[in-house]
């Protein structure tokens, strides 16, 4: 079947087998290997991307279902060399170790913050429940998401520029 989708700002038209999962299409046909596969039961969330602005586990959707959709992956977040605030917060808060779950975790965190710009710890933990991490114990991920929430608030932007990030680059 012929599908057309915009992925990270570029339009692609391809023939796909009907059984092809969106994540397979992204990785194998489009070379968007920043999005990864961590399980085969839609439990781990490593493959999370945005479809028309909402987070979706791309292993739980067929490529043909994404026909006509706009997809954003981890590779499309940074703009003009500037990291997305959530990416920056993950770096600053050491919210990743091996980094395999990180693309999905960041995509889910962005979605969570779109729903709730100022989540408390409990909300963050429940909002990330569908994304598994084996390295971090989640503490720094939670910290990063709350930090990102702070960064995304327009009023906070000015403050932050004066803040020294302890020991950072």
């Amino acid at each position: 079947m012929r599908v057309t989708m915009v992925v990270d700002g570029v339009s692609y038209t391809d023939e796909v087998e009907p059984r092809t999962l969106l994540v397979q299409h992204l990785r194998e046909t489009l070379g968007k290997v920043g999005t990864v596969v961590g399980c085969d039961t839609s439990n781990c969330g490593s493959c999370t991307v945005h479809v028309d602005g909402h987070s979706v586990k791309s292993c739980s959707m067929l490529a043909v279902q994404a026909d006509g959709c706009e997809i954003t992956t981890i590779e499309g977040l940074a703009r003009d060399g500037q990291l997305h605030p959530v990416q920056q917060a993950f770096h600053d808060n050491h919210a990743l170790q091996c980094g395999f779950c990180t693309p999905g975790m960041i995509m889910q965190a962005i979605d969570l913050l779109a729903d709730d710009p100022d989540p408390d710890e409990r909300t963050v933990r429940h909002g990330l429940e569908g994304n598994l991490c084996r390295c971090t114990g989640y503490q720094n991920i939670v910290r990063a998401v709350q930090d990102a929430a702070h960064r995304l608030k327009p009023a906070a932007q000015a403050d932050r520029e004066h803040e020294a990030v302890g020991g950072g680059e």
Partner: protein, 807 residues
Amino acid sequence: MTATAEPEVGKSRRRKEDARLITGRTRWTDNITLPGLLHMAILRSPVAHARITSIDVEAARSMPGVLAVVTGADLADEQGSLPCAWAITPDMKNPPHPSIAVDTVNYAGEAVAIVVARSSAEAHDALEAIDVDYDELPVVLDMEAAVADGAVLVHESLGTNKSALWVFDSAEAGTGGNVDEAIAAGEIVLERKFRQQRLIPAFMEPRSVLCDPTGEQVTLWSATQVPHILRLMLALTLGVPEHKVRVIAPDVGGGFGGKLQVTPEEILVFLLARRLGKPVKYTETRSEAMATAHHGRDQIQRLTLSATRDGTITGLKVDLLADMGAYLSLVTPGIPILGAFMFNAIYKIPAYRFSCTNVFTNKVMTDAYRGAGRPEATFAIERMMDELAAELGVDPLAIREKNWITHEEFPFTTVCGLTYDSGNYEAATEKAKQLFDYDGLRREQAERRERGDVVQLGIGISTFTEMCGLAPSRVLGSLSYGAGGWEHAAIRMLPSGKVEVVTGSSPHGQGHETAWSQIVADQLGVPFEDVEVLHGDTQSSHKGMDTYGSRSLTVGAIAVVKAGDKVIAKARKIAAHMLECSEDDLDFAQGRFSVRGTDKGTGITDIALAVFAAHDLPDGVEPSLDSEATFDPENFSFPHGTHLCAAEVDTETGRVTIRKYVCVDDVGKVVNPLIVEGQVHGGLAQGIAQALFEEAVHDENGTLTTGTFADYLLPSAADLPSFVTDRTETPSTTNPLGVKGVGEAGTIASTPAVVNAVVDSVRHMGIDDIEMPCTPFRVWGAIHGRDVDTGGSQAGGGLGSIEGGLQ
């Protein structure tokens, strides 16, 4: 800029590794494609024990895109036997371990046929067209049944399911007294049996391997912790010349010991790529990873502890059954032996005997999993300390204090003959008590008991140590391990002043690129950004022992420091020549050689350029500052810490909620506090998961019933609390950085802290043990006097989820 005024070591540097990981510019093995790449899929046995009577592959051969369909019989002459590097006793039984079963399968998930096709989908389609007939054999799954008379045998030809019996006796070793005499004379004698359930390492990146046979060297990319060991083992197992093999571990997504292995899939991809003359890739599904990547733990522990009535321990006897699974993998038999030296923990135990019977069952192999032998030992002794305190009616912290090694007593040689170089258990414990509000929580616990609250409070303690920095080669030799424990490093001084550091350690999430850069930046006085760390490719990093056992910093980074010392020594000669002075007149600090008492000097990067030009070097000096070093530690390092857990247990539902978790770890000097804290967090999560959530469960036929993330309960963010972590810092005296290792600490310490808390919450109800994982079902069963099947056939996963420790 050639100098850094503020030391890099000790700074919370944000990681260099992150830039590619947070943007998706990653090189996971499965991301790699090559021209003409073929894909391999594996048909796996659905039964745990059977003879293969026939395999019909004809239909599969004619499926679209299929290039090869291969069975064990086809590869029997060339596949060799998967390596086991640790013959723990001279008479250890080690049956042949094929990568693909030839005529018998011994665990569910064992490979029985392979398809190579143009796409992964086509390879998987063709698997379904393969017809295998099995003549099923009875299975043996339970360790106690496996060692009983008349047991079903995993390997008929061995005549037994016992692989080996390994014994340490302090009286025989001359390191302590006779434990039987101590127990006979004991005023208090406690006997307990604990079950260490089987766990699944569950690294997030499924394993993947790609082999390109088209070059002069065959190149194998693998999601492995051990590229160097893998290269040697490929050569030894397959008889291929070692210098014709290159192994690359690109970005590797976690391991936790689970990727410390030479896998059947690595061998099979190599063989098929060689046979077809084309690059071949295999990436496992998560379900395959759960069922066939090695598991961890799985022991039955019997402990007898004797003490005087005042609480002084007089003897400890440990008898283990350890489940090997169906075969011996790379270090399978040695894992419980690593725990042999840790049951005495931080305590002055005068008499000790450890025996371990390694047992075959029809399950996938066990092998290294975060802590590897030491969590099991720590769990058992820390549970026993609580039991002793309860028996005597004293505070469990007091009983520990009575028996632990005091800080004045270091260095202290233990009843196992290990010498603990340093430690301060009092300081860590005092700090943890303060952070935890130990006395306040004990008061609250008493009040709740008094009131008969539905939700009871328990306090769990774990004062642990571990042996890190695997390992002094002579110790490994004395334990009959098949290799040394050294590590290699090299430093290349580039003419433009930049520095390349080559390390034999092979990181997969630990942050070596950042930490090694910090160390070298300080040592050579170059900017952090000017250091590039190369690893994980046997062509650039040609020599190494890789990453496991909290060894990277304590062994690998010390090799880097030794290489740096050589660079400085070489540069000093040239600096003296350039500055026309004696080497003795030179001071080296912050990247600069200065002539003492003058303002003359030169930078080490200037010397690197001068060496590159080589126009004016002293006679007999080679034009290179590049240096390498191989470091073999004299001793282990011994991190320690005090972990305190407050758990709330709902006596009506059995639900456990961690209310507060405080740990104070002493990992010696810290290179990067941010990374250390992250390692502790992740370790805690895995140890807590053993206590409350995770268990690899098999049905009576040997089928893994927790074979997906829907059934095997990896904790999510909602299942865990925030931790309070802190440190004390007692430098190790066994290495020049004073570091001890941190990778396994959290996992080792936290499991007993949590279980002790759960048991403590209901001890007044007459309960003195609850098996792991302490699911609501098990806890409720213990409270209500119901037998909830302690044989391990009850899935912990899916039943244990708590709503986190958030209040």
